[in-house]
């Protein structure tokens, strides 16, 4: 039962303290890596699980003898759902702890907050979440989806299903606004129509009026970029208002298996989501991944796309370290270009031009048990394009080097 978690924490703390007294089992000096996620505040509902995925990968590598014969030691910091805190902690990890790499961040705002820190101190961040694009820093490796690996294919797919009238609903921050900019351009280019657009403050809980607006606009599909808690309120109230997935499906890009647990699968049943990874995938790597994750964190826990991206990000970095035979940031940053790994979602590799990850794109439908039926898949990895031609006149020639098209 979950009630024992507090006890587990106390025991874990005890073990950590006793662990410090044990003699160092690895001969060489350990490799320090930073893990920076919100462990408190509103974003912790999503980020704690990603942190768990990252830590699991680190432990797996350590269990196999470490990296370059050295043990990896994670230093976990709490970004507290507050962007300036993210910047502070990133500085701390780099300057004070002198870590070799940092894994972390979730919201675009937190990434934008730490970006100048990583660029000025010329360091390296692995960012595990899908995002709105229009960025290609040489100091960040993006292991989540670029717009053309999630948003754009899902819009095209919906249009092909003859869902022409879109209602765009999002939380009031940069990802939904930029994502909707891309979607609007795409609707114009590919023959869809926009019937409404609405942004609600983060943490908004009352959706009855928004639902009325949606009813009045009569869309074929609701494209949902809400974040966090608001999704729960929105789906519960949508169902109560008598709108089902049959008359008006919701396509979401921020709801994965982990979020579904808070919403209730029976409430979201039949609605759609676009991701690169679903827990229900049947690759052998995924079977092992899911099994290990459950063994480690409890059998009622689920895996999802960002957790998986947080997980394989560590492996991609480890591959680059092996290739460079060093943990030096500059060398690893060179070596990471083009490395690949057989992740749970299939083969992923780092695009050498823009530091994003080439990965498979899929669309799933929520099942009653909180898993997804995969309706559509590209079948093979899609190359990332962080600057979609529809909304941007720029292109990337090398990480950090962006020119006019």
């Amino acid at each position: 039962m979950k009630g024992y978690r507090l006890l587990t924490i106390i025991i874990a703390m005890f073990l950590v303290f006793t662990g410090m007294l044990l003699p160092e089992s690895y001969a060489a000096e350990p490799i320090k890596v930073g893990v920076l996620h919100s462990l408190s505040g509103t974003m912790s509902i999503s980020e704690v699980a990603v942190k768990d995925g990252t830590l699991m990968a680190i432990e797996e590598i350590n269990a196999k003898g470490g990296l370059l014969g050295r043990k990896i030691v994670p230093i976990v910091e709490d970004g507290a759902s507050d962007w300036p805190t993210f910047a502070e902690k990133a500085k701390k990890l780099i300057q004070q702890d002198k870590v070799s790499v940092v894994f972390g961040c979730w919201t675009s705002a937190s990434r934008k907050a730490v970006l100048p820190v990583f660029e000025k101190l010329d360091h390296l961040l692995f960012y595990p979440v899908q995002y709105e694009g229009l960025e290609a820093s040489k100091n960040i490796v993006y292991t989540g989806a670029a717009p053309n690996q999630q948003i754009m294919p899902s819009v095209t797919w919906l249009l092909k299903q003859n869902k022409k009238k879109f209602y765009l609903l999002g939380s009031d921050y940069v990802f939904p606004r930029t994502a909707n900019l891309i979607i609007k351009a795409q609707l114009k280019a590919e023959g869809g129509a926009l019937v409404g657009e609405e942004y609600t403050p983060l943490g908004h809980t009352e959706y009855s009026t928004v639902i009325n607006k949606i009813k009045a606009a009569k869309p074929d599909v609701i494209y949902n970029t809400l974040n966090g808690d608001s999704n729960v309120a929105f789906f519960k109230q949508l169902k109560a208002a008598g709108i089902t997935a049959k008359d008006m499906p919701v396509m979401s890009v921020s709801i994965a298996e982990d979020e579904l647990r808070g919403i209730g699968a029976d409430i979201a049943e039949g609605h759609l989501a676009a991701w690169n990874y679903f827990m229900s995938m049947s690759t052998p790597e995924n079977k092992v991944f899911v099994e290990n994750y459950k063994k480690r964190y409890g059998k009622d826990r689920v895996t999802d796309d960002p957790i998986e991206a947080g997980y394989f990000g560590v492996y991609l970095w480890a591959e680059a370290v092996k290739k460079a035979k060093s943990t030096d940031v500059d060398k690893v940053r060179e070596a990471v270009k083009g490395v690949s790994f057989n992740a749970p979602e299939g083969k992923v590799s780092i695009n050498p031009v823009n530091n994003h990850t080439s990965k498979i794109v899929q669309i799933g439908k929520v099942r009653k048990d909180g898993q997804f039926d995969i309706l559509w898949s590209t079948g093979k990895p899609v190359e990332p394009e962080p600057f979609p031609a529809l909304v941007s006149d720029k292109k990337v020639v090398a990480p950090g080097n962006i020119v006019k098209r």
Partner: protein, 360 residues
Amino acid sequence: MDKKAYQFLKKNWPYIFAAIILILLPNLLSDFRLNLFGKFLTFAIVAIAIDLLWGYTGILSLGHGVFFSLGAYSMAMYLKLKSEELPDFMMWSGLTDLPWFWRPFKHFWVALPMAIIIPALLAIIIGFPTFRARIKGVYFSILTQALALVFSIFFIGQQPYTGGTNGMTNFQEIFGYSLSEASTMRGLYIITVIVLVAVFILSRWLISRKTGRVLVAIRDGENRLRFLGYDPSIFKIGIFALSAGLSGLAGALYVPQVGIISPSMMGILPSVEMAIWVAVGGRGTLNGAVIGAITVNGAKSYLSETFPDIWLYFLGALFIGVVLFFPAGVYGIFERFKGKKAEEKGVLSNRGETDYAAEK
């Protein structure tokens, strides 16, 4: 030695000692810690500003995050225009021209005064009707809290003009000095120390004068003061505006050191936290305010680094504990050790406070 100088030294040695330590810190701390400490010192300026308003005048504002952020945003606009012709978030939001109200902020000598004037002006606009209507006590606190909420939602919603939730970040240089250089950071730290000392001296000067006594009188017995022929609302508006302006100044110093300002700084949480710095330090004493800001933020950084998973327990317990067991704050403990009576120094006693509450 000159007797006068000796007297001065004897009376003020802790301050001189503290000032020397502050000046020497750049040689003692790592770049990261120094930068962090510089941030704490900007918070100390806010704490002094809140203490003037709360500790001395008895008005608790839970909206100082707004004033702080308005100052910070003014400075951020300047820094942003220094780094980019058209800020990146304007481009994402589809703006092609710089909005008119952004233009003056190209100039440092507009941006810096604006960082003080805009918050002060807002305080006057809010304060004038509020204090004239004799709104006080918790009502004023809640009103300012609503203000914090309104401003943060508003700033988040206006992404093309304010940067939305992200706020503003990615600044390159100030006065031609790169913000990634450790030496620039040291310079900013020294400037912060100088401003803090200046604000401290200004505040001490103010409260030692007759104005200061009127302020304390407002706290302890506003009606009696009114019967004596004073108009408390003028003083309240004035001190509110001063407090807001000083917070704005602190915000302007905060931005180049931390490198980001976002609406999360103007919301309710940071605003309440600012009041907590003062409460923990000991309100009604300027020393307490400074100590409180540094203690709470230091504790927050230390605890969250050491216990990233459970640090909120300690922080929450600290707030409860201080309020329950040390009503005069950390500085009050010092004073008690020194054997002085808290009242003599102007620290609020419990008795004074019940009087205040009963009067309502």
